[in-house]
């Protein structure tokens, strides 16, 4: 066993503040080429200060959230012990209000009467080199999970501020390598991995063979099939990463059993939309337009999204706005697509909703004993939990995944109530932080989730952690070992489905 494992009590303690404990230079910066690819300056522009202030002014005039949130924090401190990065690092600048204040203090200095004439009194600060360094460092220690916003009496959402700050930094030429490089790949090839169409086709063929070998059934993973009923858009991690790929197999089996024709798309081979992480509407929209184009080109009736947290928030909450994938539009642009889509179903739908509906209608059979070796708990992925819904019923995003798990497993136990549902902790790697240059932060940020998991392990013998987010799955696989867990205990919800589902074709034989 490793010596650097972190010993955990089974409750979450609020640490005393430890100033500058996470001070540093932040994640790797994007190169000139990466920046230019997205239309941002390659290097910090000469008059960066003025450009930044102008961009702040523009952003707050285009986003009511930013303007209102900058004004209406009363510094009550309700959020100070809610961020997993603060709980894990004890750096006070990781308290949500203090993180916002990095941006707010500059707003006050440049845009408010009190800050212009009495800066010391109201904590207004200039945007100087040191402040910019703090912005870069600490706005890349926010995973935009929105846990703080659940507890804020004014509804202030730090993720809106951190998106705005990243947008300002990109515009002056200070971008983050990991996120912007990936966005470049989506722009060029269509997915985060930069996996070209032939490689994708090969992978899918391999998977079909694998399923045939395991089950004896011809389960297909179709791609670019026109006039299919369903366009399936999943995170590209589902095509290659463990344990994600077993989830993709699960989707394929469910579609197979449903008898609904479906297809993946080589043009829109990515559900995740990192455009949200950098708060850039155009980049985010560009990603969403790929899905729109695919849905139109392939002439599908439904769009379904795979297990991916931020993707589902963007799909559920933003797609209708960004690219008209949804319902209830009145404009020609969106109606062109919406008239094609089947209005009997919500558009887009989550794969969990699709599977749940089949279960409700007794269209799927399970041998739950196949999962008897597992005691399963469910990690509510932050952006699904706090920024979306499923099933169009109140709290459906918490109910449906659990019902799907219960349909496939006999042993399901929830973690501590303060760490699930709307109070769920981020995995520690969301919002553009899933990069090795931030591994220290990722390990520390996972601490509150690991606390709750440890408690469930000790009290209920939990040995399986199910998730519905590509980032959560990758992040947990990486950090579980640091907390004395088996890194292979993390699974896709649809892997549980996949393992227990009874494929009828086999019975007929």
């Amino acid at each position: 066993m490793q010596n650097n494992q972190i010993k955990l009590p089974t409750y979450v303690e609020t640490p005393s503040i430890n100033k500058d404990s996470m001070a540093g230079e932040g994640p790797f910066k994007a190169t000139v080429e990466i920046q230019n690819n997205l239309g941002f300056p390659g290097e910090k522009v000469e008059n960066w200060h003025q450009v930044a202030i102008d961009k702040m002014s523009e952003t707050k005039s285009k986003y009511r959230s930013v303007q209102v949130f900058l004004d209406s924090c009363m510094k009550c401190g309700a959020c100070t012990d809610k961020c997993h990065y603060f709980l894990g690092t004890s750096d006070p600048k990781n308290m949500p209000v203090a993180r916002q204040d990095l941006f707010r203090s500059v707003y006050r200095r440049h845009f408010t009467f009190a800050g212009k004439y009495f800066p010391k009194l109201v904590g207004a600060k200039d945007l100087d080199e040191d402040m910019l360094d703090d912005w870069y460092n600490y706005f890349h220690q926010c995973s935009q999970c929105r846990r703080c916003a659940v507890f804020c009496p004014s509804g202030i959402d730090t993720s809106e501020i951190s998106m705005a700050a990243r947008e300002v930094m990109n515009v002056i030429g200070v971008g983050q390598k990991y996120t912007n490089q990936i966005l470049g790949k989506v722009k060029k090839i269509g997915n985060n991995l930069g996996m070209p169409e032939p490689a994708l086709r090969d992978t899918l063929l391999d998977l079909e063979e694998e399923i045939k070998y395991d089950t004896g059934v011809d389960v297909k993973l179709p791609i670019d099939i026109k006039n299919s009923e369903v366009l399936m858009v999943s995170p590209s991690a589902d095509f290659f990463a463990e344990p994600h790929i077993d989830g993709l197999i699960g989707y394929a089996k469910v579609f197979h059993e449903s008898g609904v024709s479906w297809t993946l798309s080589s043009y829109a081979s990515e559900a995740a939309n990192f455009g949200m992480f950098i708060g850039n509407y155009d980049v985010m929209r560009e990603g969403a337009l790929r899905i729109r184009k695919s849905a139109l080109d392939l002439n599908v009736k439904r769009v379904i999204v795979g297990e991916c947290g931020h993707a589902w928030r963007v799909a559920y909450s933003f797609w209708n706005t960004l690219s008209g994938i949804g319902g209830g539009a009145e404009d020609d642009y969106a109606l062109k697509l919406q008239n094609q889509l089947d209005s009997n179903y919500p558009q887009p739908q989550h794969m969990i909703e699709f599977t749940y509906d089949l279960i409700q209608n007794n269209k799927l059979s399970f041998d739950k004993s196949k999962n008897n070796h597992r005691v399963v708990t469910f990690h509510d992925s932050c952006n699904v939990a706090r920024g979306s819904n499923m099933g169009d019923i109140k709290n459906g995003q918490f109910i449906l995944p659990r019902e799907v798990i219960r349909a496939a497993c006999n042993n399901f136990i929830d973690m501590h109530k303060d760490s699930i549902k709307s109070s769920t902790f981020c995995c520690g790697g969301g919002g553009g932080l899933l990069t090795d240059d931030l591994i220290d932060l990722r390990i520390k940020g996972a601490k509150p989730r690991m606390h709750a998991l440890k408690q469930s392990e000790q009290e209920s013998g939990v040995n399986t952690l199910a998730a519905i987010c590509a980032i959560c799955k990758s992040q947990f696989s990486r950090v579980l070992a640091n907390y004395d867990f088996d890194p292979y205990m993390v699974v896709s919800v649809h892997q549980l489905v996949s393992d227990a589902i009874i494929l009828k074709e086999k019975l007929d034989q």
């Binding site: 986003y63 009511r64 916003a149 659940v150 509804g155 809106e160 209830g328 995003q397």
Partner: protein, 256 residues
């Protein structure tokens, strides 16, 4: 008229003017700023009724704060409730002409001063002794609490210590402010010390964190209906992008 009365009359009008113009400006600014995306926060509401109930819980019960911290909730909620009761209690001094009976009947609201001081002291204590909250506090955060405590204590000293100023003069003065027929202010220092910070707080309202009061109603996280899939939500500037794209596509077609 005494210089002190003139000073307070002018100060009152300046403070009120700043308050009305400043808050109107902020309300118009918030109203006019677009909301490009649907960003309701869990537990979100699937219909307008749900949003209404959510605001009811937030405004009257501080439900999110209750979830966050029981101490802050206790102090904060007590303070705000007491403030509202005392506001109504003070209407009797402002009511022009015949005062409705109800304003006399709520006289016992004066005892809300005790929970007011309790709540404010608790909030100040948290600011001083909890290291996280001390870290995020600016001088203005302490000053506002101290001003409120000072207002409460001077008020209590007058009400419960039997140091009332001439209430008829007070009433004539406030009536005068409203009817522009100004009259002399009672000269007791304690009374002046009571109303001076009140006028100050009114004046700084639109340029300070006191904006949280109107701000909460404009929070998209709280006031949006969670129905993004059912209704297309689009702001003007984003809608323009749709049109630009449509024109571009049509032009491409012509080129073909």
């Amino acid at each position: 008229m005494s210089p002190i009365s003139i000073f307070f009359i002018i100060f009152f009008y300046i403070a009120s003017l700043i308050f009305i113009l400043g808050v109107s400006y902020k309300l118009v600014q918030y109203w006019n700023t677009p909301v490009p995306l649907k960003i309701p926060i869990a537990p979100s509401s699937l219909d307008k009724k749900g949003v209404f109930l959510r605001f009811f819980r937030e405004i009257f019960l501080f439900s999110s704060l209750f979830k966050a911290s029981k101490w802050t909730w206790l102090f904060g909620w007590t303070f705000h409730l007491a403030l509202v009761l005392l506001f109504f209690r003070h209407l009797v001094y402002f009511w022009p002409g015949d005062v409705p009976l109800i304003l006399y009947k709520i006289e016992p609201f004066k005892y809300a001063a005790y929970p007011l001081v309790f709540g404010l002291t608790g909030l100040l204590g948290r600011r001083i002794f909890v290291d996280r909250i001390r870290y995020i506090s600016s001088p203005s955060d302490y000053l506002m609490l101290l001003a409120l405590i000072f207002i409460a204590l001077t008020g209590m000293f007058m009400t419960f210590g039997h140091n009332h100023p001439n209430l008829l003069m007070v009433k004539n003065f406030t009536e005068g402010l409203i009817t522009f027929q100004w009259s002399e202010l009672p000269g007791e220092i304690i009374f002046l010390a009571h109303i001076f910070p009140v006028f100050c707080l009114i004046a700084i309202f639109p340029i300070s964190k006191l904006l949280h009061a109107p701000g909460i109603f404009f929070s998209p996280t709280l006031n949006q209906v969670d129905n993004a899939r059912k209704r297309r939500h689009i702001s003007d500037w984003a809608s323009k992008k749709d049109n630009d794209l449509k024109i571009e596509l049509e032009n491409n077609k012509k080129d073909d």
